[in-house]
């Protein structure tokens, strides 16, 4: 080999340093708007074509930590919560689904929640929030993701979390399968008037991403 003199080795190292300075990731987001995103994931093992009916609560719960079983959960201001519910229903219906009561054996149950909390793992906000709504629920239930693991962030300020569950697939250990996950992140930014428009457009994008839900 060749590098015989210290001078050459030094110059080679300088050259490498200059090139390495270019970096693996040359550009990164530099404004808050760049963090506005929509993420969805679904279970590859669930037969979406066979699911036709859904139910959804009347309000969007506000994740404030882990609600204790039996406590009434906080809910999102109806000014926004109603818009979220209405937009989810609108997209479901446009994809050929039919809304039913949660006690009328829906194929799926959609659970919408908003998290304003920082540094909380996005999906694990505890079943206690749904104790008053979910059919057959009793304390101690959990949930799982059949056949997939959604990507998540540990920094969740301002996220709308939509979990589509299969109430007919509860495991023997009382874990409810989440067959589709949708997350809209970045919703705490911007004015109130623009917020509603962004809620609507981002929920639309979540469904547009998920043609598998279309009948």
């Amino acid at each position: 080999m060749t590098m015989r003199t210290p001078t050459r080795s030094l110059l080679g190292a300088l050259l490498l340093t200059a090139l390495l300075g270019a970096g693996c990731y040359p550009d990164q987001p530099d404004n808050i708007a760049a963090y506005d995103l929509v993420y969805t994931a679904y279970s590859p093992s669930y037969d979406f074509s066979a699911a036709r009916t859904y139910s959804i609560p009347d309000s969007v719960v506000l994740v404030t930590g882990n609600a204790a079983d039996g406590d009434a959960p906080s809910v999102v201001d109806p000014l926004y919560g109603d818009q979220i519910i209405a937009r989810i229903k609108q997209n479901f219906n446009a994809y050929g689904w039919e809304e039913v009561n949660s006690l009328d054996s829906p194929d799926v149950i959609m659970l919408p929640a908003v998290s304003k909390t920082e540094n909380v793992t996005v999906y694990n906000y505890g079943w206690g929030y749904w104790g008053g709504y979910y059919p057959g629920y009793y304390p101690g239930w959990g949930w799982y993701y059949p056949g997939y693991a959604p990507s998540y962030s540990s920094y969740t300020s301002g996220s709308l979390i939509m979990l589509m569950t299969d109430p007919n697939g509860v495991s023997p250990s009382n874990n409810v399968p989440i067959v589709w996950t949708g997350v809209v992140n970045g919703l705490l930014e911007g004015s109130n008037t623009s917020l509603i428009a962004r809620i609507q457009s981002t929920i639309d994008e979540a469904f547009e991403q998920s043609s598998i839900l279309k009948h």
Partner: protein, 195 residues
């Protein structure tokens, strides 16, 4: 850009032995993504470098190895990226860091001349780390793939066994379980010096 070439200019001024049997090569490549990599990132890359070593078997043939690193990057204002059962919509920062290593064999023409064209081919591996950042999310895939690397080039003799190189290399990655073949074409300027 100047910072890349400046050390190269300094190196060319160094003295070296005249009978080079072993050569070290430093190259600065500009790369154009091809195929699936081009579908993911449709921008040329000006970030990379190559290191090479050649042993001259005789006056016209050489064997050795190449190692390289190339960073591809593209910013997409707002779009949707599908990845099997996942999808992300948002402002996207797409990266692929491609690390290559190959064993090469070269045929050099016009022995004894100052300007010598050469052709070569190599086989090895490419480690392609594909990263997608959307907001706070990051999706990653990082396959190792079989690599074939044909090259053509010209060397310009400078002095004391040193030479300037201009070359074109095609890095052809082969499809693996995780990702389609990751391939790119690189045009390089380089500097060779020997003992």
């Amino acid at each position: 850009m100047l910072r890349y070439f400046l050390p190269l200019a300094i190196l060319t001024a160094l003295p070296s032995a005249s009978k080079a049997q072993d050569l070290m090569i430093l190259e600065y490549p500009i790369a154009i993504p091809v195929g699936d990599l081009n579908s993911y990132i449709n921008e040329p890359s000006f970030r990379g470098f190559n290191l090479g070593y050649r042993h001259m078997i005789d006056g016209t043939r050489a064997v050795g190895m190449d190692m390289g690193w190339q960073t591809f990057y593209e910013h997409v204002d707002r779009g949707t990226y599908q990845d099997d059962n996942q999808a992300l919509t948002g402002e996207q920062y797409r990266y692929t860091n491609a690390f290559t290593a190959s064993v090469q064999i070269d045929q050099i023409f016009r022995e004894g001349q100052d300007i010598r064209p050469y052709i070569g081919v190599g086989i090895g591996t490419i480690y392609a780390r594909r990263t997608l950042d959307v907001g706070l999310y990051r999706l990653e895939r990082d396959p190792w793939q079989f690599l074939v690397q044909p090259e053509v080039g010209v060397s310009f003799y400078l002095a004391n066994g040193n030479a300037l190189l201009l070359s074109a290399n095609y890095y052809a990655g082969f499809k693996s379980k995780e990702l389609e073949g990751q391939s790119f074409l690189a045009m390089s300027i380089g500097y060779a010096f020997g003992d």
